[in-house]
Amino acid sequence: MSEPVKTSHPIETDMVVIGAGPCGLFTVFEAGLLGLECHLIDNLDKIGGQCAELYPEKPIYDIPGLPFCTGQELTDRLMEQAKPFKPAFHLNQQAEALSRLDDGRWRLSTSAGTVFQAPVVVIAAGAGSFVPRRIPLAGAEDYEGTSLFYAVRRMEDFRHRNVVVAGGGDSALDWVLNLQPLAASMTLVHRRDEFRAAPDSVGRMRALVSEEAMKLVIGQIAGLHGEGDALSGLTLKTTDGEIEQPCDRLLAFYGLKMELGPIAEWGLNLERNLISVETEAFETNQPGLFAIGDICTYPGKLKLILSGFHEAALMCQKAFTICRPETKLVFRYTTSSTELHKKLGVA
């Protein structure tokens, strides 16, 4: 997560899109053809949503006209398609509070303090925002933010501490290497002696272990001990039984999970964590607030990327009437319209 940035002036735009996955990106294109500007918010540090975070290397075979691509390739292609419309991205932040302004527009603020004012807000948030998976042990939340962390905000918090890092990916290994020189002691806990992190990082970690500059424990965290919000030790379950590990700073990397987050409090009609919409424009129960892609539901809904594209196109038609109430919309094709060619930069 980035440091909160306070913007003094709200960003004024046509559409704020929550979620920079495939549906959010295609919204930029459809809105752009109609002359509408989009700002996108995403809690991830990258563009592409689940396609980029969950399955960047995995194949997708059901995008019309694109017989095969990976999650990352689809993201790259959508970015290329949206490029003429210069989308603005606000990453590493979660949409937090939504309220209606006196003039009927929306005011939306994020966890990083960015504020938007726009007539249209589009929720294209997939299965929710990606947040760190927390340790499901009793008392874990008491330590969170003081001695248990899921990300590093300030390296100084770890100086002269008995640090334990849990995980086997790049985040875990990178922080082991970065914090080891500062820490009083460094221990890496991972469930098996194989790591998905970059081989170079793994090699450097193993070198530190052989120099006895740090410890590697193959096992899993089975218990947390401490007083109040101060962690003092862990019980680790290893193949040789349980061991006690002194620890006053625990940094855990168990990947990310998706949760609805603050959107759940926005007064929307929810059905099993999905947002009910009508199927003419995929508008929610609140005018000017739309939901498209995996997060919306209606009779017959299919959670396919192609359905999200269709929803984006129809939604933008309605969004136009809200953003430009005085202007008559004329329907044109990209094949033949010189006006659209100009917008696309191909005229």
Binding site: Q50, L54, Y55, K58, A127, R133, R134, I135, P136, G167, G168, G169, H190, R191, R192, E194, R196, Q220, Y254, G255, K257, M258, K303
Partner: protein, 108 residues
């Protein structure tokens, strides 16, 4: 028309056993999810998360192929992983697995 079926015994997080007739060829995750049990399966079965984590009864463990590197990598992100931990989206129901007993791992 329903295909051939095999039995799956799924133990939920309250310890309640559910006997499910599953379609052969479906993954155990799909069978359990279709029966309405609370299995998240966030990625939809493409081995890109660990939210269909189950413990497989020892008797059936030997009948399964070893987890491939992808599955093992995703299990790294699960909690309370045991020797009999598997991702149920990677277990395809077959006649040989008739009666397979799986316990849903804790949610987190």
């Amino acid at each position: 028309m329903a295909g051939k079926t095999a039995k799956v015994i799924a133990v939920d997080r309250e310890g309640q056993e559910h006997e499910i007739e599953g379609t052969i060829g479906w993954s155990v995750m799909e069978v359990v999810r279709e029966a309405g049990l609370p299995i998240e399966a966030a990625c939809g079965g493409c081995c890109a998360c660990a939210t269909c984590h189950v413990y497989v009864d020892e008797a059936f463990l030997a009948k399964l192929d070893e987890p491939d590197p992808d599955e093992n990598m995703m299990l790294d992100e699960a909690f309370e992983v045991q020797d009999n931990s598997r991702l149920s989206c990677q277990i395809k129901l077959s006649e040989e697995l008739d009666g397979i007993r799986v316990t849903l791992a804790p949610e987190f």
